[in-house]
Structures are given as structure tokens and as C-alpha cells.
């Protein structure tokens, strides 16, 4: 058993060190002999054992005696632990590739591949909104009426994406271009919903609603602009007319619509509908009903659409 452990460890170390490479060869020879039902008489096991014992003996004779006596048992334990941790690492790697976190979808625990946790950062929806739970398991689109939100429908599209973001949220702004890239390359249906998670952005939601109502095609350019231009500029209410004018929208008409009671009621209703999803931060992106919270790498979104993860 120690030979198997040695083979794996020395093979990895052998990538960087010639001396470990020769030990890996010895370990392989030993493992090969055992696999072919021959005794491993190369002395390799004793060589490794003596190295271990020699290191220990100056620290604790008692411990060395225990290790010497139960070497085979300890080897088995280490073997199982090693394979367990290897499987865990592989599982973590898989999670990281597919979900952007070693710990699984939307899990924000420490991940060695993403130590800063940037793939799970969100603009948290504050308690005032009445949204307190943070379990992504409860995120759902069931019973959520999305009919009033800006929608792009592609004929015969099999996949659908719902993007709930906030113009003022850096993480939403980070995820938005990737989602745009995805809906273009994968030809998916798309629903956009602004949720005012950060700052006073309700006015943009009202303006957006009115733009979409009257300029369905141009709306998407306008939305892209809001997500890509300087944040301070677009969040300043004083600049909204200039922005609307730059798209040749009827500024007066849009303002009238945005300030109407009817629009305010609809926007309020939209926020209430979004709360039904159980969202606790932006961006929250539903891809075919599966929720992704935080700005994931592009591959994560793509994997959710791909049939076999990688393609």
C-alpha cells in the first residue's frame, strides 16, 4: 500500500524534481509487480519506511515505535484519506468549473481556486426589502409573473435566461456583458429585470419600463448603455434627459410616462414579483430555471446551457 501512495506523491513531485522522479519509477516498479501478482522485492517499501522513521526518531522515540509497529495500518489510513481528499479536490475542481465555486452552486465558503470569492459576490438586498433568507435552494421563478419585464424572444429557442440585476451594482455590471454574449451565441430567450438593490435606482426602472413600452427594439441598446457607461453619470437623475436624447427617444413623452401613477404602480408590482423569487442579492440569474447568484465566470453560464457541460 505505501507503494501506491508513494507512486502518486512522487509522480507529482517528480514533475519538478529528478530525484523524486527516480523514486516514482521505483514505486511504479513495485506497484506493477504487485498488480502482476509478484512480490515487490525491490526494498522500496523499506527505503521509504526508513526515511519516515529516521525523520521521526529524533522527535519522539515513542511515536516512531508506534509508526514502525503499525506502518501498514497507518499506510492504509493515509491511503484512504489521500483518496478521499483527492476525490474532494476533484469534486471541488468540478464545482469550480461548473458553478464558479469549489463548494457548489452559489456557495460562498473558501475556495482555493477563487480565494477572494469574487465569483460569489453580490450586492445584498437589505433587510428593509423584507428579504432575509440566503438559501439559493429557495430561489425560484415559479408563480413569478415576468410578463411586464423587457423580453427578447427567439423563435424555437430552447433555453431561457432571466437576469435580475441592478444598474448600480458592480457585480451585476460585471455579469451583464457575459449574459449578453451568451444569449447571442446560444440564441436564448431573455428577460431583463432591474431590482433596485443598491442606491436610488427606481427612476431608471421606471424610465426603462417606458422606453421598452414605446421602443422595444431600441430598448436593448439603451439597457446595454446603462450597464456599460460610467456608473456615476447614469445614476445622476440630472443626466437622464441627456441620455434619453442621445438615443433619439421622445424625452418628454418618456418622462411623462415614467412619472405617471400607472407606471409607478406597475414598477412597484414588478418589484413585488421579483421578491417572490426569493432573491437576496444581485445579480441573480436564472438559466433554464436554475439560479446563479453573483457574477460567475462565462464558462459557468455556458456550462448551464451546454448539453454535456463542456460542449
Amino acid at each position: 500500500m505505501p507503494c501506491v501512495i508513494a507512486l502518486i506523491i512522487f509522480s507529482i513531485l517528480g514533475i519538478f524534481s529528478a530525484s523524486h522522479r527516480s523514486l516514482a519509477k521505483e514505486a511504479f516498479d513495485c506497484v506493477f509487480k504487485r498488480i502482476t501478482l509478484r512480490p515487490c522485492n525491490s526494498g522500496f517499501k523499506e527505503k521509504i519506511k526508513s526515511k519516515v522513521l529516521s525523520k521521526l526518531i529524533d522527535r519522539s522515540v515513542f511515536l516512531t515505535r508506534i509508526v514502525n509497529k503499525h506502518y501498514e495500518l497507518l499506510s492504509w489510513i493515509f491511503f484512504i484519506l489521500m483518496f478521499g481528499s483527492m476525490a474532494w479536490v476533484i469534486y471541488g475542481g468540478y464545482n469550480f468549473y461548473v458553478y464558479g465555486s469549489c463548494n457548489g452552486l452559489n456557495e460562498s465558503g473558501f475556495c482555493a481556486f477563487d480565494p477572494s470569492g469574487k465569483n460569489n459576490k453580490i450586492s445584498e438586498v437589505n433587510a428593509e426589502c423584507g428579504i432575509t433568507q440566503k438559501s439559493s435552494d429557495k430561489l425560484t421563478l415559479n408563480d413569478v409573473d415576468l410578463s411586464s419585464f423587457p423580453t427578447k424572444n427567439i423563435t424555437n429557442a430552447k433555453d431561457s435566461i432571466v437576469f435580475i440585476g441592478c444598474y448600480a451594482c458592480d457585480y451585476s455590471r460585471k455579469a451583464y456583458p457575459d449574459i449578453q454574449k451568451l444569449i447571442t451565441s446560444k440564441k436564448t430567450n431573455f428577460v431583463f429585470a432591474h431590482f433596485p438593490a443598491k442606491g436610488d435606482t427606481t427612476f431608471l426602472e421606471e424610465v426603462g419600463y417606458c422606453v421598452y413600452k414605446d421602443y422595444k427594439e431600441k430598448y436593448w441598446d439603451f439597457n446595454n448603455y446603462l450597464f456599460t457607461e460610467d456608473k456615476d453619470f447614469i445614476l445622476d437623475k440630472a443626466n437622464i434627459n441627456e441620455i434619453l436624447g442621445s438615443f433619439n427617444f421622445d424625452v418628454e413623452k418618456v418622462n411623462e410616462c415614467a412619472n405617471s401613477i400607472e407606471t409607478k404602480n406597475i414598477v412597484e408590482k414588478q418589484v413585488e414579483e421579483l421578491k417572490k423569487t426569493g432573491l437576496y442579492g444581485t445579480p441573480t440569474i436564472f438559466i433554464n430555471g436554475k439560479a446563479f447568484v453573483g457574477p460567475k465566470p462565462y464558462r459557468v453560464y455556458r456550462s448551464a446551457i451546454n448539453k454535456f457541460i463542456f460542449f
Partner: protein, 412 residues
């Protein structure tokens, strides 16, 4: 040839160690504690320098090229032959045949002595494979009879059994000093008895030459073989000594370049001894290095060597016997075991002990069956750990060895 007595230099261990680069490194952590000289001795700087001189200054053929470098090589080889002849007190340098090692020397004899079906070769029960396998092979090939002399209980030579078995023997081939336990056999008496019974005697002196002065003329031994690498010389060098009249009667073994005076398409004439036994281009650098090793050994008094080695052996033996379950192979009296302390613990793989000593304190000892598998198989002992001392070892080294062994024994 006159046996010239030299004034020996005082036994100065510090000076001796400074002659060995490996033992005089500035960083003492890099100096190995080497107790495996029975397998391979360390080499003094002068031996390595002599070999380098050959490669750097005159790397030519000896015995055939007439240019200056060739002449120099021929002279150096002749000189080495003379030094070795003088070292063992042979009658002249023509009794010295260069071989690759002891094994080759014995094989040369086995293939050159006119053995016939039923001839008896007498060996002991603890011969190195080199002095066992060639005879077992001849038993299959030519139908010779191989007899073994049983040992005493303490592994020493059983002279009574020898007297019983020596009658009708063609060759007595025994290890002068055993690599198993360091015990030397009573060679003078063995040779006398063997000769009285009409037997030839071959001594395997591989483990003797570094520790004891050998005088082949006084011993009246017929053949004597030893290796260069166990006596401060380079690897791949060895010597077969034989009485000239006996060597002259041996049939040739390996033939080719350097073994013949002339050839025609249908005939050849062999060169005289020793050249006829040294086929092909020789290891000139090695032979020159061997000559330098002998020159170095000639500077040290073998009585001093023996005294120093006994002192170390006594200390190690005494301390080893204090440890539990240790069994020393051979007599417990260190004075009977030369420079070897070979021990084992029942049920313990002694490789582990050797490896741990190496890892813990850079102490080199040998573990295994030491090429005497027959003895181990007969005794049903798995393996042993052999400490072999040479004159360059120190008491401090022995103390480190023992203190680390103490630790290891505690955890086994």
C-alpha cells in the same frame, strides 16, 4: 627481487583522513561515516590523481605503441606489477596477472586448471559466491566434485574436518578472511597440509589485503586472488598471483589481442605468463591507480592498522552486545573477526537498520546476505547488517554509529 624494508610513517589518523578527500570535506556534515569497506574501500587522493594523470597526460596504449606516451604507459604498468609483487612478496612480477577483480581471478583459475571428471575442489561453508559458483558450475560442466568443510559452532575453520576431507583433493580454495564474519583461516597450516596431500591451494584474499600483510613466499601458497577496489584501489582492478611454474602450466582462458607473440592464418604462439592471461586492452588507468594504492598502503605499518581496527572492533562489539537480541555472526571475540562486525536480530529485516542509519546520521553499513547466500540459506537467517572497519575509521565515528543504533533498536 629483494624484499626491501621501508621505514613506515607513524600512524597518524588525522593525516590519513586528510589524504582522502571524502573524509576531509570542510563541512563535516558532508563527511560520510563509512563502515562498508569490506564491500568497497575509500580511495586516497593520490590514487585518483594517478589515474587522472594517465587520462590527462599520457592516455595511450601500453605494450604495443612505441611513442613516448605508449612507452610511459608500458613502464607504469610494469612498475605496478613490480610494486604488487613486492607488496605480497612474490618471487617476481611475472607472477602477477591483472584481472578485473577477485571473481575474475577465480574464474580464470577454474577455467585454466586442467580439471577432469571426479577431481575434487574443497571449499568452506561460508565462501563468497565468487568462490562457490565457479566450482558448482564446473561440477555441472566437467563433473568435478565440490566438497565443503563444515565450520565450528562459532563459524571458525574446523581443522579436524579439513584433515578428514583433504585427502585426494585437487584444489583447496578458501577465503583467507571471510567477508561474512571477518574470521581468517589458518592459512599456513592449511597450505602445509594441502601440499602434503598433493593439493593445490588458492586463497581468496579480497578481505585480507587491506588489513594484513600477505607474504606469498612464506605462505607457500599456489594461487592468491584479490581485488583492487577493496584495498584503496580503483574499481575494475584485481590480481591473480600464482607460482610461475604453475601459471605456466595453466591453459589459456580468454585469448586475443596482447596474448600472442604472433599469428598466421592457421597458427599462433602465445606470449609467456603473465601476458597470455591478460587479453585485450587493459584498464591502464585502473592498474596505475592500483599501483598507487599499494604504494600508499606500503607507507602504513600493518601492525598499526591491525591495532587500530581491533580497538574499534572491540568497542563496537562491546556496545552492540549491550543491546537486546543482537546476535553477532562468528566468534564474539573481536580479535578473531578482523575488521568485521556482522549482526542480526531474529525477525527483523536488517535492511531497515542500514537504511535508517544512513538516513539518520549518514552512516553507511551494508545489509543483506553479503554474497554468501548459501550460508544464510543453510542457517535460515534472512539477512544481516555488516559493519566493516578500515584504518581510516575513527572512534568518534564508531560512537555515532552506536548511539544511532541504540535509538533504532528502541523502536524496533
Amino acid at each position: 627481487m629483494k624484499f626491501i624494508k621501508k621505514i613506515k610513517t607513524m600512524f597518524n589518523l588525522e593525516k590519513i583522513r586528510s589524504d582522502f578527500k571524502i573524509l576531509s570535506e570542510k563541512d563535516s556534515n558532508n563527511i560520510p561515516i563509512y563502515f562498508d569497506s569490506a564491500c568497497m574501500s575509500l580511495k586516497p587522493n593520490s590514487v585518483i590523481e594517478a589515474m587522472n594523470d594517465y587520462y590527462f597526460k599520457f592516455p595511450a596504449c601500453g605494450g604495443r605503441s612505441s611513442h613516448k606516451m605508449g612507452e610511459l604507459v608500458t613502464k607504469k604498468i610494469k612498475n605496478t606489477r613490480e610494486i604488487i609483487a613486492k607488496f605480497i612478496n612474490a618471487r617476481n612480477e611475472n607472477e602477477i596477472i591483472f584481472t578485473r577483480n577477485t571473481t575474475e581471478g577465480i574464474n580464470l583459475l577454474a577455467n585454466s586448471i586442467d580439471f577432469n571428471n571426479g577431481d575434487i575442489v574443497l571449499i568452506t561453508e561460508k565462501e563468497h559466491n565468487s568462490n562457490l559458483v565457479p566450482w558448482l558450475y564446473l561440477r555441472e560442466k566437467k563433473g568435478i566434485i565440490v566438497k565443503t568443510i563444515p565450520l565450528n559452532d562459532d563459524n571458525t575453520f574446523n581443522f579436524e574436518k579439513f584433515l578428514e576431507l583433504v585427502k585426494g583433493v585437487k584444489l583447496v580454495s578458501v577465503g583467507y578472511t571471510s567477508n561474512l564474519d571477518g574470521v581468517s583461516v589458518p592459512v599456513k597450516e592449511i597450505i602445509e597440509v594441502a601440499h602434503k596431500n598433493g593439493a593445490l591451494v588458492c586463497l581468496d584474499a579480497a578481505q585480507t589485503v587491506l588489513h594484513e600483510r600477505i607474504n606469498v613466499k612464506n605462505l607457500d601458497v599456489d594461487f592468491l586472488v584479490f581485488s583492487g577496489h577493496k584495498m584503496l584501489g580503483p574499481t575494475g582492478t584485481g590480481v591473480l598471483y600464482g607460482k610461475y611454474e604453475l601459471l605456466d602450466k595453466l591453459s589459456a582462458f580468454i585469448l586475443g589481442g596482447d596474448t600472442v607473440e604472433y599469428t598466421t592464418y592457421s597458427d599462433y604462439k602465445l606470449l609467456p605468463v603473465p601476458e597470455r592471461f591478460e587479453a585485450g586492452l587493459a584498464d591502464y588507468a585502473g592498474i596505475i591507480g592500483l599501483g598507487e594504492a599499494v604504494r600508499y598502503l606500503n607507507e602504513i605499518d600493518f601492525n598499526d592498522i591491525k591495532k587500530h581496527e581491533l580497538e574499534l572492533n572491540s568497542y563496537i562489539t562491546e556496545e552492540l552486545l549491550k543491546l537486546p537480541n543482537i546476535k553477532i555472526i562468528g566468534p564474539s571475540d573481536p580479535s578473531k573477526r578482523g575488521g568485521i562486525i556482522n549482526f542480526y536480530i531474529e525477525g527483523v529485516d536488517m535492511h531497515k537498520i542500514a537504511l535508517m542509519l544512513d538516513n539518520m546520521a549518514n552512516v553507511s553499513i551494508r545489509s543483506g546476505q553479503h554474497c554468501v547466500h548459501s550460508w544464510f540459506n543453510n542457517k535460515n537467517i534472512k539477512n544481516s547488517a555488516r559493519i566493516s572497519i578500515a584504518f581510516y575509521n575513527t572512534k568518534k565515528e564508531a560512537e555515532i554509529l552506536i548511539s544511532n543504533l541504540n535509538k533504532i533498536i528502541k523502536i524496533i
